[in-house]
Symmetry: C2
Amino acid sequence: MPNSTTMLRPLDPPRRLLMGSGPSNPEPRVLQAMAAPPVALDDPAFSDLVGDCEALMRAVFQASNASALTVPGASRAGLEAALASLVEPGDRVLVGVYGHFGELLCTLAKLHGAQVERAEAEWGAAVDADALANRIRDNPPKLVAIVHADTSTGIGQPLAPIGAACQETGSLLLVDAVLSIGGCEVDFAAWQLDVAVGGLQKCLGGPPGLALLACSPRIEQALGRRRRASHSVYLDLAHPLDVSTTMVMAAREALQLVLDEGLAARWDRHRNASQMLRAGIDAMGLRRFGDERHSVPMITLVEVPLGVNDASVREQLLVEHGIEIMAAFGPLRGRVWRIGTMGTNACLPSVLTLLSGMEAVLASRGYQLPRGAAVDAARAVSRRPL
Amino acid sequence: MPNSTTMLRPLDPPRRLLMGSGPSNPEPRVLQAMAAPPVALDDPAFSDLVGDCEALMRAVFQASNASALTVPGASRAGLEAALASLVEPGDRVLVGVYGHFGELLCTLAKLHGAQVERAEAEWGAAVDADALANRIRDNPPKLVAIVHADTSTGIGQPLAPIGAACQETGSLLLVDAVLSIGGCEVDFAAWQLDVAVGGLQKCLGGPPGLALLACSPRIEQALGRRRRASHSVYLDLAHPLDVSTTMVMAAREALQLVLDEGLAARWDRHRNASQMLRAGIDAMGLRRFGDERHSVPMITLVEVPLGVNDASVREQLLVEHGIEIMAAFGPLRGRVWRIGTMGTNACLPSVLTLLSGMEAVLASRGYQLPRGAAVDAARAVSRRPL
């Protein structure tokens, strides 16, 4: 244990290329923003900052009709705040489950007293949105909760039919958009969402530490009708906590960079990054996991070839190449790698670095592959102007 | 609302001298640490970082017997995590209440099902520790919760007799050390605390965004005996959430700076800053609030003179001098100012700047005071080597 004279070595974390399931490497401008001078919570400058941030959030969520708020902490704090605030004991909550984060929604809803009903799909597929919409119309629950894009399976969930059914029936629709926001289309207004929870640390180019929420006018009404307060003081949408300027400054800068790039251009960059990565993976002779029709661009699941050790490859990639990819959860553990192309890493250089590293690691372990083919294949589908 | 072509002006928050109830201005080295390259949560470099941080926390809390953990979010997230994790419905919780943050402990404990009993003192005084200890011995509750130093009143609470009674009877002792940690003595082991919750943003020289907790071995036992899980997934000490490297890097750097300075030297610096500030306040003819025997060094409450408008003075101080002081809560609202001397601002230059600004603002509003006397009085009690 250090005593008052102990000095640790100076902080000097290794440089990593973060191509797992998030966090991704933040934009340098966002990290710089966090070092700007802080202001106090009752300073008019803080109100301006929060106002900027809310306007930017509405633009990025395409939620002109929504109120925007933040919950300090991990993305999970935002998800639990929404459920703790909206669920009262005995409420029926219908959860779409097609991966690990759907399970988390079930756990959170149950903890806050919900009677949870599940609409399931196998890992690697999306929930049948029309069937789910019909189920909502047949017997509308208080709340429908579903993940938009699940890092555990790389699958994206169609939401528009679910939103329409919720709008018709009065059910509320909560969507986990932590992974999707900033990396593919999220149209809060058109899809008729009621709460969407986003995170800074995946496709928005920021660090973890602040959950971003868009809330429809129906949420305010629902909060007003509650029979009792939220299960939590900290996690209560009706009384959002003022937060630090540091994280709000990071969010402002990250969101501004998204809008500077343009939403459509940013989604296209993510799409092309996944095309490059997948062309390379295919050229190495590796197999990809999941229903391609519903795959999202920001994460790619790759099957671990027979005879290759999942963890050893990840460790060698980290130690020799400084590149992080991620293991999988639950039924996929040990069987697939998860490779992210999010935010700053949705680009040709990051994809080529990853493919070169993967190739070298696999080749060094005796896996047979055509050397150089992955990088060539990726370059061939790059739409980046040279 | 911005569309995808809107550009806000570049981030350029005003420079403020934060001398309210916190946050205080962070150490530049801590802000720089936050811009270091992030690593992923399953990177061995992250384990090293967390290990460093835990060792530093044990040293700063003087808690060699404790486990150290962090909760991402505001300090309040740490307090609610402790109560959500330890309180089960119907548990008797005895709360010491002598200001706003004691009231918050009551609210949090009730929300999580406690039968709350109060041991009160007037705002401006401390709770009678010996009487509270006797009350614990007479009828031991499951948990005793009390604030160590309350920003709402500037009062510090003696804890050793309470800790001794809890140790004898088996009651758990939870202490809100958000304000005190790093600014005055906190002796977790000697005072026999079971949970202490600290914040980075007051006397530790960091930004807000991470709650620091020390937990005694009795806490682990209590978590093992729970009949049901915590009220919250996010706020559960039994399953602490992995957090971002960014805030952990900030915490590591801030705690290292505290130990480099030395605990005793740092407490003395805070003590001397309050002596300088108070000498200056007295020399201006202003009155201070609260029981001086129990005042803490990091915040000073000053009565608003009759005929002077609380809010206008604070606004003028902010606009003309860039200095933030804080309004008061509850029964003291409009009647006192709260002036912090925390972390980087527990020093002669910050105190002199504050006193000069206060003097100029009050004089401009017709308040009669001896010009220059405050600064002279503060300089006269400075122990800073020139």
